[in-house]
Symmetry: D2
Subunit: 337 residues, 4 copies
């Protein structure tokens, strides 16, 4: 880490910082400029120590140099992770397509989507049984009944499924049905949930928080991995910006950025990112072109009657057409789909 | 709600939307313009229905008119709420000052701060026993041991205390010690936690999420109230913007904005908002001038040795001096402090 | 436009708004709900009138329904614009590649890049002669000398060139050399410059402002078109968000979004969007997959010695390799490159 | 500046960076860690050089340490600037209140506001004659006629006035009438305008750009000062965030932050920041409490008929009442008003 002293900081204050750093076990290098003195501290094992030094007299700021995450980093594990979820590989040659409704609403709805998804070439099914909703008065999902329907849809189509978990107390229940868990954007820094999903060992999709930096997102993954679960797949689902035409703003550069920092697979969710079904195909193509290892796409048999996220859901026919458009893009970047 | 049809939408599509709205129980009013037809739908009891209509053919967008929150709204309860926490009133004439360290680190640290806070005129003590931290490798608090120390500090000083709860499973434990619970910014949309804190009936400080709109924040409060707990105090603690000089950006206009929408008291946390102790006093004064019902301020006996948030913590002497500066501001807006 | 009255607004206030709207020539439709009355006003010829009504007593808010831009809109001109710049067509089948250094630094530098760009298959050359720089002490370009070098590079390679204009007083000079003008992100709302570039009739690349909404960007295009110049090409170059790993955040969804609102061609600038050369290729591929009509890419013979934007510049070899990767993506979306 | 090398960068690459830094005249200090090597480069006279080094092989990032601005900095001029504008001092003991309509619309409107402002205790008058507007079809001001009316209002009331300049070609004209120029938020990085306003020597209010960092804002001030004009007053007018309830978000912490970095006076514009007249008073009080040296407030005799910014304009009566509320706040922070 780097400690930047205030302009013309007194010698005594520089010495105090140097002594403090040494007492914390850092090796210290001084660079004295005309205006500012900079102290390089090598060996930053203790992030807390680093932060607090900023409060010492004469210190202007502390600039951390190392990432806080370790196990999630490419430096710790230089080969890319390939994560197997009931026979489906994330991070391999194939771009994995996960399709399904925002929420499981009924047997008819779910089976219709699952069969259409299967027929169009999807690899996995998605569907919410426990729905985190902004308002307490919105539909919150069918809960265990929804999990049973998802299991039935898997039976019928052979597609494994992923579903969101929002409460640490439900992890065991959800994991007993699902092939993969999902941690939603609003829970990306629900550290209790992260740790317990980590302990469960179940593969997990970790969505990026609405205003999470890439560094914070990888720190959230670190929680899961450090609890013993290496089966983490990141999902870029749009960040919050000032733009109001779209629901969120898909940060497409996060895909190569994450790949430059981490070995974990990364997929994209163009449905939540845009909030508008007509924008989903172009953004899905973009994500695959940028190197996404998979897509998470909302499909509903009748979007205008969906209990949640109708405006961003594709019809089965639109999804099928998107799958056809995606294949040459995947091929163009050396992938299958 | 308003349904805006696409330019020159076909008559048939307009009729379909009208029929759908009527079948959902809405009263419908048509405004036909040269370019666009607008459909006013009165009686929006079902927010889900509203959203899904945006997916109907010919619909450009749906503009909701009513807020989703009800119980948190000024319209439901026009008189301002005054919330009593162990004898301290939030939302009354007095501006409530809550002071203490980010994290409870030791008996010595906590008692020192508590006594200094008391002596400077603080009304309540704060201190984290369960700390949500960005990295799994940071200090996560003393847990129940921290709660015991807080209770001891209360014993010594007479100051009631507030402390954060991050796990639904800990609510009972934390509530058995604390006078008031805190839901942190990262958990503002942890709906499980909101509902269970609601069920506990314990007074709660609900911090605004890093990228939460005021509407979403009030919806989060609605979760707690609709679970039966009206003792909700909102806390503006800075939102995430592009500015990097400060840790976050205190949205001072949220104070009067919330007061124009809700009857709930609102306090401000200048420590997390700025991330820099030297900016805390000016921002604290601003919050009180804008009408804040209280302040939440981090104080540490030795900020440069704090295990978390050192750079934004005031020393006891700085806090005392701030209290002196705050009094005439409170008086200027007709409040006590 | 829609006027939303405050909850339980008095009859008299509703009538005042209705009368005011009628006096401004609007046709008025009332929707009375239990909580709120909504007034639909059809015929919004006067945007100012709309805004000011929000200040009338009893009015909660005014929701505009129509876009402010007209000529830039797909509704005014439903067929896509194809813009010819010295023989190069933007908005046609071909994805146009514009390459070159951030700033023209010397004859050697520019000719080297121009020849490499030509050889790799670029269609046009870019290079700054007048550079808007954040600091007054940075390199601000070679000015007319730079324009002469660009003209010479065009002579040598046959590639037409685009260059930025920052001062209304320089438009004539720049237009006398360049094939196309560029308005940079920081000048997107420099309305004087927009109008005068409009009057010049010269084709122009209009970059999106750092925090401009899509609506504001199209309004900026409207300035140019309404001054008589239909040759406007939009350029998405990244918006400002809280993410700091990248210089900006490319809003890839803006590409299909703009195409759903406007007939104007849209290109992307992955260099400024990411600020990191290693992220440029993935983001360039994404932009083309999303439907971009062209790319603007910074290439420098020796990025580590560039006088500006070195870290985001590709070497000629990297650019050539990117062109090879782009071709199958363009083909996959039915385009040439 | 600090050069952070990639993890395990080869010795040869470290040496290349060291040599390059030395050749640019920097003094170099190496800190070798187990994971990363950090190179401190002292004497950063050339910002461009710093940036380009990030493009060298093996370099992860370059962290600048010094601010780019010099003359605007507290380090260059440690005593606070007091700027005299026709007898009114900005940065002195008095909090300066500038009031007036967004746009000059007519003689009647302007004189009415000017007299009301004067009577309520305002120190200066504001009013737009050249209006930058998002849409080309909006009202763009009365131009020179507006300047004449402002001069007349000054004559009548004795209040000096400030008005915006948007075109370098108009500076001389505007300066011949006005006591002070204003550079609007959208022109904060219109470097041509900055330099020419700098050359004019006229006092100037420099508004913060919608998405400008404090560093960029001070760099913009540096343009004006380095062109010879030290009479720069900064104005915080709200930044763009995701919040939509308010027009912008007033960054109240920017007030003490600027004061910790620069000697220039800083005022606040609660009208543009909030966009809602009912929020203006609370935010105005907050700004003064935070240390603002003045306020810029929109006042209109009949906001609901204003040609621009009606919803955020106070009536003369509301302004008078605000002035009464402001005085004790100013007194509480040791200022006059």
């Amino acid at each position: 880490m780097i400690v930047v002293m205030e302009p013309r900081a007194a010698e005594q204050r520089i010495n105090q910082v140097v002594e403090r750093l040494k007492s914390l076990g850092f090796e210290v290098h001084l660079s004295r400029g005309v205006e500012k003195t900079i102290i390089g501290a090598v060996g930053e094992r203790r992030a807390e120590a680093a932060q607090a030094i900023e409060a010492m007299p004469g210190v202007e700021k502390v600039v951390p140099i190392l990432h806080q995450f370790k196990l999630a980093g490419l430096q710790f594990k230089p080969e890319r992770s390939v994560i197997n979820v009931s026979g489906i590989e994330f991070g391999g040659e194939k771009v994995v397509c996960i399709a399904g409704p925002c929420a499981v609403e009924s047997r008819e709805q779910l089976i219709a989507v699952a069969e259409a998804a299967k027929q169009a070439g999807a690899d996995m099914l998605r569907g919410g049984a426990f729905k985190p909703r902004t308002s307490p008065y919105s539909f919150h999902g069918l809960e265990e009944e929804g999990l049973k329907l998802l299991a039935e849809a898997r039976e019928v189509t052979g597609l494994p499924f992923v579903t969101e978990v929002v409460n640490p107390r439900d992890i065991e229940l959800v994991a007993s049905y699902a092939d993969m868990l999902q941690i939603g954007a609003r829970n990306m820094q629900n550290f209790t949930l992260l740790r317990e999903v980590g302990a469960s060992g179940k593969p997990v999709i970790l969505k990026r928080g609405l205003s999470a930096t890439i560094e914070e997102w990888l720190n959230a993954a670190e929680y899961i991995i450090s609890a013993g679960n290496w089966n983490v797949i990141l999902c870029e689902r749009g960040i919050r910006t000032f733009e109001t035409f779209t629901r969120n703003t898909l940060d497409v550069s996060a895909i190569p950025a994450v790949k430059s920092l981490s070995h974990l697979p990364i997929i994209a969710d163009p449905s939540h990112a845009t909030g508008k079904s007509k924008l989903v195909p172009a953004v899905a193509l973009a994500a695959v072109a940028a190197g996404a290892d998979g897509l998470l796409i909302e499909v509903h048999p009748c979007p205008s009657e969906a209990l949640s996220d109708g405006p961003q859901s594709l019809t089965p026919a639109e999804f099928k057409s998107l799958m056809t458009e995606l294949r040459p893009i995947a091929a163009a970047v050396g992938r299958l789909l």
